[in-house]
Symmetry: C2
Subunit: 224 residues, 2 copies
């Protein structure tokens, strides 16, 4: 959705600001109501009303009820990750820059955020919506990786970014799976291999580690 620049530059027109305000109001309302009444006791109509817009407008902003709730926690983490990568000095290994940026942005967990995460784990639909947010880091990551690599290897950047997104998703999945054992057993029917779930940073690093050689190879193609 957004690239790193937009994070730093404030919205230009009054139009944009109102839009952001509405989005924020909806996020806020969705999360507050979900916490107050429980996730499935809140209807789109309620959220829209609390934010002062029509239900139809509500889903000009969010494609699903879950997305609104989750986005209050996620905020603009995607852009922050991209910015964090861009902020690393050009000398460091790209694989490290990415890994550190991801871990950093997922561990800055405020009080309110942590509370909301607890809520999310309680309902399958919310967990899924939360996992889907991982895919959102792909576009900004693509841009920032392409910048470090040569632009000639744009497709490589895209694949690497998508792989990172997939790995992050897996890490998050493994992290909040303990809440749902049945599914894990089912999806891994092939071999009963279960991973002892550690802390989130550990999960992230473990998931990203296998991709490091791919980053290294890509990097060497540009600066041999």
């Amino acid at each position: 959705m957004w690239n790193a620049d937009i994070v730093t530059t404030p919205p230009r027109g009054l139009r944009e600001r109102k839009k952001q305000a509405t989005r924020e109001a909806l996020r806020e309302a969705a999360l507050r109501l979900a916490v107050e009444r429980g996730p499935d006791q809140v209807r789109v109509e309620d959220i829209a009303e609390a934010a002062g817009v029509s239900p139809r407008t509500y889903n000009n902003y969010f494609a699903s009820r879950e997305q609104a709730i989750v986005s209050a926690v996620t905020a603009d983490r995607e852009a922050r990750i991209a910015a964090a990568v861009a902020a690393r000095p050009a000398g460091v290994r790209l694989a490290d820059a990415v890994t550190d940026a991801v871990v950093e942005q997922y561990t800055n967990t405020g009080e309110r955020e942590h509370k909301a995460l607890l809520l999310i784990t309680t309902q399958a639909a919310l967990r899924d919506a939360f996992l889907d947010t991982a895919a959102g880091i792909e576009p900004p990551l693509t841009a920032v990786i392409a910048e470090r690599l040569d632009d000639a290897e744009a497709h490589t950047a895209r694949v690497l970014a998508a792989s990172v997104a997939a790995a992050v998703r897996i890490a998050l999945e493994g992290w909040l799976r303990p809440a749902g054992k049945a599914e894990a057993a089912e999806s891994f029917a092939a071999g009963g291999l279960v991973v002892p779930s550690g802390s989130l940073p550990d999960q992230l690093r473990t998931a990203l580690a296998p991709l490091a050689p791919a980053f290294d190879a890509a990097e060497q193609h540009t600066q041999p």
Copy 2:
């Protein structure tokens, strides 16, 4: 969903066979009606009626109308890919085994399949549903990769499989994007980098290539 074994072993009970038959009937009906009338002139009710089940039963099988249509083309490609990987001799490089298997299973395009693909490209919702099928290769791929690698590195297998799925998705995207230029320009707003779209096999190999070093490294950890 399925692992490689299930492909070869026929369904055991009468129960399973009826289920498969219903699924097949729905797939078939969905595709036929979509071709006859055009994709958006077919309602779930019609598909269900043509297959001889209730509308409610229809979406015990498929979560969306698009999924049913697309699945007629996709069939059980996921399982075939996994089987193809498993079929390669143990000596070959894992990266090559996977790449070749993927390319092979995506290029065996029959007449009817090719016709349906043309239909899919015409509608955005169908294209999206088709792209989503790429994610389906992750579970069987995870199983078969884990088998080649040491089972101790199960998490690595999972990440690699997910990365392959992501890469395949990107390849497919790039392949059928020419039908929708506007979106491409928008999603790549950061830098106007466009990839000249070649044939599907080329796209697949190009997308999978950056992952090869990761496969090599994983393989070397098990057999140094």
